[in-house]
Amino acid sequence: MGMRETYTQELIRLAEKDPRICVLDADLQVGHATKPFQNRFPDRYFNVGVAEANMVGIAAGLSAGGKIPFAETFGCFAARRAFDQFFLSGNYARQHVKLLGSDPGVTAEYNGGTHMPLEDLAMMRVIPNLVIVSPADPAALKGLMEQIAYHPGCVYLRMPRKAEQTVYPDGTEFTLGKAKVLREGKDVTLAATGFVMVPQALKTAELLAARGIEASVLDFHTIKPLDHELLAEYARRTGRVVTMENHQIIGGLGGAVAESLGAHEPTPLLRLGVDERFGQVGTIDFLMDDYGLTAERMIEKIVPFLEKRR
């Protein structure tokens, strides 16, 4: 099952037992596969048309009226188009708007530079107390959806819609704000987030192991609040940290990790991601190679980084 099917299935599961759960789309119901929710709960589903600002504003009003609204749109529009509405009517007003920004970064593929959110995490991270979630696979999403729904505040959820993959066994338990350790290694910590980069981090660890370098791999499925304790522990243990994200290296996971290490555990850090470039069209394979997000491309930077520090 893909991410969007899991998302909708979880929404229906939650809505079956809680009449407060509502869902809103902005003319992307087809894209997010939320039709089954509408079929099951027609009174609690609203498609507002191509009007993301209004969608988030209505979601805030539903929240003020006692509901738990989930609103979906592409991440580019969730962050860039509806930012003020999410910031003010949602977060500042202390409402409980759950906003899905889908198809982050390179997963936007053929929709290209206009639709390729490489800055949404940076924008969202500055909102006080917002929770930001970036699951690596359907099992992680499933393990976090109920906590997202019942977190007393707004949540930004970042994930692709269509792809399928398995990082975690179904039924794995997750806790918002607590990163997952996927691999133990003493030489370097690979801190990754999201559907695209967590598998690449695991692959990178394999490639490093073949060169005799043992990497720990951490999955930051929650970017805010960041798991400072686990990060500091692994930074101490390995002495070097590499961040991996499908996002600008400014302001996202790399920025969060740099801030955290700077404050708690100063450690040499290499931030990998998109560096001062806009999005573009292409297949995900092309885009990952072009932006240097594949394990093979990342190794090219990690090995010199580790050698320089030895």
């Binding site: 009007a51 600002a53 209004n54 504003g57 979601a59 009003g61 003020a64 006692g66 509901k67």
Partner: protein, 272 residues
């Protein structure tokens, strides 16, 4: 509405104007223009129409108001204080550090405020969300919203206009405080809104136009709006920015105006 009731509400409106002029005057600066123009609208709603409970501001079965032009908070604060939502002394804390009464409406600070507003254009969407929530819960309570004519430059207002009519939200009654001015000048010069009633009607609303300082006319329009079964209602209230504040009425610079307590006292005395 009989003559005695109209007189009662007019007296209330006068008192609210005085309290608002004083509140801002003691501070020395504030949004006097847009606070004066909607006094009759808010007076009609809070002293005659809306089901609210000052002792229990978050009571579930209450009518709600979204003051989308959140900078007119001071006029609403004067009403909420008068009704007993919070002590009158709070009115003198407007915009003081740590106050419960900020320049723009904040539902988490001020008892009786139903939605946080301030970034223009957002409140009508929130009002739609509140109206939808009531519909989901089969609640009869109504949602009221007040937007500005200058605020209607915002595209989100028209996104909301489409949505409210699409969802046939007859439990939503909105007012436009059409005071014909915005920060940079007359609305007709800055960004001409042309025929607002026609616009709302074309968006599928039951739209009316009234003298926004005539409580009797406002009340009749409200009664007609309440009778509407299929559509959301927009009452375009033609008003005067700064109405009733002698030194501010109709003055283009009255949006966020500097004046002192002496000027305030003169204006309050002039109201009688």
């Amino acid at each position: 509405m009989d003559g005695a009731e109209k007189k009662r509400l007019e007296e209330k409106a006068k008192q609210i104007r005085k309290d608002t002029i004083e509140m801002i005057g003691r501070l020395g600066v504030g949004h006097i223009g847009g606070s004066m123009s909607l006094v009759e609208i808010l007076t009609l709603l809070y002293y005659r129409e809306m089901k609210v409970d000052p002792q229990n501001p978050r009571k579930e079965d209450r009518d709600k108001l979204v003051l989308s032009k959140g900078h007119a908070g001071p006029a609403l604060y004067a009403i909420l204080a008068d009704k007993g939502f919070f002590p009158r002394e709070w009115l003198l804390t407007l915009n003081a550090g740590g106050t419960r009464l900020p320049s723009h409406c904040d539902m988490n600070l001020t008892p009786g405020i139903d939605m946080t507003t301030g970034s223009l254009g957002q409140g009508l969407s929130a009002a739609i969300g509140l109206a939808l929530a009531n519909r989901i819960d089969n609640r009869e309570e109504r949602i009221f919203a007040v937007i500005g004519d200058g605020e209607s430059n915002e595209g989100q207002i028209w996104e909301a206009a489409m949505a409210a009519s699409h969802y046939k939200l007859n439990n939503l009654i909105a007012f436009t405080d059409a005071n014909k001015m915005q920060i940079d000048g007359y609305t007709s010069d800055v960004m001409d809104l042309l025929d607002l009633r026609a616009k709302w009607e074309s968006f599928g609303w039951f739209a009316q136009e009234v003298d926004g300082h005539d409580i009797g006319a406002l009340s009749q329009a409200l009664e007609r709006a309440k009778g509407e079964k299929e559509r959301p209602s927009m009452i375009v209230a033609h008003t005067i920015k700064g109405k009733g504040c002698s030194f501010a009425e109709g003055v283009l610079s009255n949006h966020n105006m500097v004046y002192d307590y002496d000027q305030a006292k003169e204006a309050m005395a002039a109201l009688g």
